[in-house]
Symmetry: C2
Subunit: 410 residues, 2 copies
Amino acid sequence: MWMEQKLCQLNRVEQIQDPQGFTRLGYSEAEYKSHQQFIRTAEELGLHTYQDKVGNQWAIWEVHPDAKAVALGSHLDTVYNGGGYDGVAGVLCALAAIKVLQDKQFRPQKNIAVVCFIAEESARFGISTIGSKAISGELAIEELEDVSDMEGITVKQAVEQMGINWEDLTKATLPVPKLEQFLEVHIEQGRKLQDSQAKIGIVTGIARPVRLQVTAYGVANHTGTTPMHQRNDALVALAPLIPYVSRETAAMNKQEDPHLVATVSTVTVKPNSMTIIPSEVQFGIDIRSVNDAAKQQLVTNIKQYCLELAEEHHVTVDVKTLVNNQSVQLDDTIQSKLTHVSKQLGFKTESMVSGAGHDVMNMATRWPAGLIFIPCRDGISHQPNEYTETSNLVIGTKVLAAYLQTEAIQ
Amino acid sequence: MWMEQKLCQLNRVEQIQDPQGFTRLGYSEAEYKSHQQFIRTAEELGLHTYQDKVGNQWAIWEVHPDAKAVALGSHLDTVYNGGGYDGVAGVLCALAAIKVLQDKQFRPQKNIAVVCFIAEESARFGISTIGSKAISGELAIEELEDVSDMEGITVKQAVEQMGINWEDLTKATLPVPKLEQFLEVHIEQGRKLQDSQAKIGIVTGIARPVRLQVTAYGVANHTGTTPMHQRNDALVALAPLIPYVSRETAAMNKQEDPHLVATVSTVTVKPNSMTIIPSEVQFGIDIRSVNDAAKQQLVTNIKQYCLELAEEHHVTVDVKTLVNNQSVQLDDTIQSKLTHVSKQLGFKTESMVSGAGHDVMNMATRWPAGLIFIPCRDGISHQPNEYTETSNLVIGTKVLAAYLQTEAIQ
C-alpha cells in the first residue's frame, strides 16, 4: 500500500517498528537523506521542489507562480531514538492528500505547497523549530550562536556541513508568496483521542512553556560528622518543592480549567557524593498552558514557596526564568472548517489544546493556521514504540484532501 | 619550628594553605612521594623503616626485634583537593611524640612503631582504608578486582605501578609482631571540640555506615501533553523521602541519643530532560551511628515509608542495601588512660563518637585500639581550607608522648 511504503521510505527503513527507534537530528546527514526521499516522492507526484535558505524542503503543486496558495506540512527530523510518526505523519498525510486529489482529477485553483521544516526538535541543539521560525521571521540568529551539540559541533558548523549558507539563514522566503493559510497534521502525543475514541483532534491553541531554573545553595559537609541540627542541606531544603509543584498544579486544574501542567523534570545535586551533604541543588521546571495567566500564577506561587523554603532551612534559593513563551491561539475559522469537513466524512472530532510545540505555532504568527491531531497509541511519543495505525494516517489524509477541495478552488 | 617544617615536608609544600588543596590519592605518585618524606624524617630520628606488602610505610624505634610493641599512625593520602591535616596530623604527632621522648632521653622497653597506612581515603577507588584492612586481615582481594578510578586505571594497575606485588597484597604483616595496641590521632572533622572548647576528643566508637540505594520506577512521558492525573512521575513519588529521612533522623535523636545521622546525598534522575517526565529516580542514602540498632530502626522506617510512597503514587520502589557495616567500639581501658594523661597535662577532654571511618576501625578488630581527636577549625575537612593550629598538633603530640611514657615501659 502506498501509505505504508512511503512511511517506510521517509523513515528510510524496511519496517517501521525498530527497538532502537530513529535518530534523525536537525541538520544531520540522516535528516538530509529523509528530505531526499521526500523529494523523490514529490517528483513522482509531479510536484516541483525547492529548498529555502534555512534548509526547509518544499514541494509545490503549482497552478501559477502568482496564484494564491495553501501550505501543508510538518518535519522529518526526530529526537534521539524517537519514533517514525512524530513529524513524518504530517508530511506524509500532506503528500497523500495531493495524491488523492490528483487521483480524483481535482483541479486546484491555488498553489498547494508541502513543506518539511528543518530542525523542528530541540534534541540536538536545545532550540526547537528552527526552520519554521526562519520562514515566519521569528528566528534570531543570535540565539543560535555559541550553541553546540553533545559532540561540540556548533549550529553554524552543522548548517554549513549541509551546504547551507549561515549568513542567509534568516533570509528564507516562501516559494508560494501569496500564502493564505498553513495547516499541520501531527500525532497527538497524548491520550485524549484514544480515551474519547475520537479520530480527529481540532487544536484550538498551543501551550508554550515557561521554564524555571531553581537553585538552592547550602553548605557541603561530611555526612558522618555533621549533626542533623548543624546542617545546611540544600537538598533537604529544596525537595518539598517537587510535591508542591505537582499538588499546586493539580489544584489549579480543579478550580478552573487552564489545562495547566508543570513538571520538575531535571535535578542536579552537587557534589552528589555519598559522604558529602548536598551543597547545591538545581531543579529544572517545565510549565505549560494555553492560558498564560495560569502559567504566571503558578510561577508566582513557586517563587513565594521558594522564599518560604529558603527561610525555613537557612539556605539561599534563586529562581531564574529560562524560557517565557506566550502561548499561541490558532485560527477560529480554520478550526470550524476542519470540524465541518471531518464530521462530513463521519469522523468524530475532539476540540483540544496542544501541550507540545509544533511548527504551526510559528506559522500562526504570520498566517492563519490550523493543526489537527490524529491518535497515537497510548499517547506515547519520542520513544521507539511510538505508533499509530495506518488507518489513522488515512483519516488525516482524507480530512486534508476534503479541506483542500473546499479551500483551493476559489 | 620542627612541627611546622615537617607538616610542610609531609605535604611537600612551602606553605600549608593552598587554595587548590592537596590531591594525593591512594597508590599514586603523590602519595608515594609523601611516604618518602616520612622515611626521610624517620631516618633523621634514627628509626628504621619498612614497607609491608600492601604498601603501608612503617618506621620503628626498635628496642629488640622480639619486644612487645605499641604502634601509632594514620595516613598520608588525601581526597581530591583535600586539606593538609586529614591523616598527616596523626602521622606527624606520632613522629613528634618520638622526638619528644628522644629529646627527654626516654628509654622505651617496647618497640614503638609509626605507620602511614596506604590508601585510606575512598576518593580514588570508592574503597577506603585498604592498607589498614590488609594488615588487620580484613581485606578481601575480590572487592578490589574490577574496580577502577575515574581515568580507568584499575586498583591492580595502580598497585603494580607502585612496585607492589598484587598477589601479595593480602599478605602484609607487622614489622612488630608482638603488637599490644594501636593508637591514632586525627583531626575531628566536626565542631564538637571547638564548640565545647575541649582540646582532646576521646573517641568511644566509630559509627560505620549503612548505605541504601532507593530507586523509583515510573513512566516517562511528554511534560507538555500528559495531564497531571495521568502521570507516573518517579520524582514526585520519591521526593517526600528526602524530608522524611531528615525529619525522622532528627526525631530519633531527640527521643534517645543514638548519635544518628542520615543523608540523602546523591540523586540521579532519568532521563533528566526538561521535556520528559522522570521515569527513574535513584537516591543514595548514608546512615551512620555507633548504635547499630538505631541504624537498623531507621532502615526499617525508610523501607516502610517507601512502600507507602509506592502505593500512593502507583510506582515501583526498590530499596537495596549497598553497605551494612557494624560500628566499632574502641578499647575502654585505652580511653581511660588517654583521658587520664590528657587531664594530667591540663587539657580539657570530651568523650565522643566518630562519625567518619578511620584506619583505627580495622586495627580495632585485632588489637586493643584508641583514637584521639584534636580540634579543626569550624569542623571543615576534605576541603582546601581544612585547618588546625600548630598548638593543637603540639597538644596531640604531648598526649601521645605522655601515654607512651606510661605504656612503653613495662
